[in-house]
């Protein structure tokens, strides 16, 4: 594979201005991460201390192998919901290493509203378990939740992907032979009680841990029976009498140590055999990514410059370099693992769409995972392109991306607009992981175009009686529309709603891809087979 020849002038004023802009965005991201992870109301932290409980971060630290990374997912979930008062949606999820084994962690955060489950908390747990199912990763649950947040119960209970899905996914994992261990560190009430019950292994802390369908107040109201927490569902009740829990623990640290020992007894999944070489750092400094991403999302840049700062040795074998040049396709290695890369270098035309669909089939055939790098305004419009079948060519890409058996990972590098999001493995197409960069935007169409359409509709309504509107009046209609649209297409809104698995600092992307790509290889993949391509 050849070294990519970078054409970036790192001393240019443009590069420097981009670098300053993007470094500020990355700094802002780090600050938001810090707040979401560590800023909690003092009274909640004091309550945990009184109960002898560790914080969720301390628990995870103690659980993982020392010196190994914890790759956290959706850190900023719910950052724009519930008045910003439920950081991380009161749940921490991620991929960590225990006893040398990759596992998915799901941990309730008792310092946020007593660990209550909000609708987005449920979405976050379901997503973590989807990741476990799709990648055959064992799961460790750290349970400490007050239960569903009642005022919003209608939004978290009954629908297909709401709370019931947590327990469905747990059962499917078990059926697939992927083990789970739950550590009961607080009360697991009502639905939450099924998490330890559906795990093949569970550990419960004496004194603070409890499992029951209804707590003492509910029991008293229902039947008049008066019973203590311990008697009803404490450590000794469940480990000695009911058999609902397996291992009694004297303290949180004791419970975490037992859980580590349990994970150590599990058989390690055999990794998918893909082409591997010895990993090598990129030749070009990943810090230069800050200067490459233009500060204006409308400005085009060469995706090869991004690839050069992600892949081993900055080496890339470009496929069909002269055809359909607005889509870059080719092979590279990421941390020694061979990947196919599909990246946007402009609008998708007929030829670039065909090239994309063709390259996807090629990667599926030779068992190469695919990395999608999105910066896409959409498919080309106009008579010439429709006559050549741009719609059916886009459909070919969608058919290919949906039918892939090899793992896909998507990074939205800048823009993700319209059907381009679909053909380039957007969320709906089950990439095993999907990440965004801080500046990215995602929506049906660009903010300016959408604001123009919406403004025109409103102006037409306002002038139906034959009135005319001044330029200021039109602008007064347009500005709030534009601002709202921008917010709803921004990366922070996307990650708040979990349309992605998190926002990445561009320089961390290589490591994130290394960890997640490795995680995808735990699952065997089926032979290549696709639906019908409209030729």
């Amino acid at each position: 594979m050849r070294l990519i020849e970078s054409l970036i002038d790192t001393t240019s004023a443009d590069f420097q201005a981009n670098a300053t802009h993007n470094r500020n965005l990355a700094e802002g991201l780090r600050e938001r991460h810090r707040k979401a992870r560590f800023e909690r109301p003092v009274r909640d932290l004091e309550r945990l201390a009184r109960q002898g409980k560790m914080t969720v971060r301390e628990r995870i630290e103690a659980l993982l192998d020392p010196g190994t990374p914890f790759f956290e997912l959706s850190t900023l979930a719910a950052n724009q919901a519930y008045g910003g008062e439920v950081p991380g949606a009161a749940i921490v999820t991620g991929i960590g290493i225990i006893a040398g084994q990759e596992v998915v962690i799901h941990a309730d955060d008792p310092a946020v509203k007593g660990g209550a489950w909000y609708p987005l908390s449920v979405k976050k747990i379901v997503r973590a378990l989807d990741i476990a199912v799709e990648n055959r990763l064992p799961v460790v649950h750290l349970c400490d939740s007050a239960g569903g947040f009642l005022p919003l119960q209608a939004d978290l209970f009954a629908d297909k992907y709401l709370a019931g899905r947590i327990f469905r996914n747990q059962s499917i994992l078990s059926k697939l032979g992927v083990p789970q261990v739950a550590i009961v560190l607080g009360h697991c009430t009502a639905g939450g009680a099924y998490i330890p019950a559906l795990s093949e292994y569970n550990v419960i802390v004496r004194g603070t841990g409890a499992i029951f369908l209804g707590g003492p107040p509910l029991v008293k109201a229902a039947t008049g029976e008066v019973v203590t927490v311990d008697e009803l569902g404490g450590c000794d009740t469940h480990t000695q009498i009911s058999g609902t829990a397996d291992y009694p623990a004297d303290s949180e640290r004791h419970a975490l140590a037992i859980a580590r020992d349990i994970v150590g007894t599990w058989k390690r999944a055999e990794k998918l055999k893909i082409e591997r070489i010895r990993p090598e750092d990129p030749h070009y400094d990943p810090q230069e990514l800050y200067g490459i991403i233009p500060r204006d999302i409308k400005v085009q840049f060469d995706m090869r410059e991004v690839i050069a700062r992600l892949v081993d040795g900055s080496r890339f074998h470009e496929y069909q370099p002269a055809y359909g040049t607005t889509l870059i396709c080719g092979f590279a290695h990421l941390w020694g693992m061979r990947v196919g890369i599909i990246g946007n270098n402009g609008v998708l035309f007929n030829d670039s769409s065909l090239k994309g669909a063709h390259f996807m089939q090629l990667c599926d055939q030779n068992r190469t995972p695919i990395l999608f790098l999105q910066n896409i305004t959409g498919y080309m419009v106009g008579r010439e392109y429709e006559h050549r079948g741009i719609t059916k060519d886009g459909a070919k890409m969608i058919m290919a991306v949906s039918g892939l058996e090899v793992p896909k990972i998507t990074v939205i590098v800048n823009g993700s607009f319209g059907a381009g999001n679909y053909g380039m493995s957007g969320r709906a197409f089950d990439p095993r992981f999907l990440f965004m960069w801080p500046q990215s935007q995602i929506s049906v169409m660009g903010a300016d175009q959408a604001a123009n359409v919406l403004t025109e509709l409103k102006v037409r309504q306002a002038t139906r009686g034959g009135d005319t509107l001044s330029a200021e009046a039109v602008s007064a209609i347009r500005e709030p529309i534009l601002e709202d649209y921008r917010r709803l297409s921004g990366a922070y809104y996307s990650t708040s709603e979990m349309w992605d698995d998190g926002i990445l600092d561009p320089v961390d992307t290589r490591n994130a891809l290394g960890i997640t790509l490795s995680a995808t290889l735990n699952r065997p993949i089926d032979r290549p087979h696709f639906g019908v391509f409209r030729m």
Partner: protein, 165 residues
Amino acid sequence: MRHLLLIDEAEYEIGLVPAPTGDGDGAYRLLLGDEIIPVSLEGTVLTVGPAREKVAVAVDGNVAFVHFRGRAHRVEFRDAIDRFAKGAVGGGADSIAAPMPGSVVSVAVSAGDAVHAGQVLMVIESMKLETAIKAPRDGVIETVHVAPAKTFNKGAALIALQAAE
């Protein structure tokens, strides 16, 4: 196909193949002309045939600097694809055509300007996206065919460079 190495400006066509097992890790056979020379690099000790030298190696992309006996030697690996591509160095067309229909946002050069490969010549807009049109090679601008705000079709000539000598 043998590799081309430039060692301190001198060209060598060489091949490198793993030595038969039993020679240890890091043992290779160097093919140079008709010769087959056993070579190996173990830690900092480089063995070439009967000669053994303590070396320091620094790698920067396709270039390695090998230091021994008080001197540094520059060893460049010339990729065969680049080496045999016609006009890979200083190549590129004389005329730059529009990659898609659109309009001109700005023009940065005028006739007679000397430009270098990769320099931004103009910015066009299509499908809400601004694309910089860059010089495909070093050269001198012959004609700028379009002005700002002008629209054009796919394939329209945007800029011509003076023919390369």
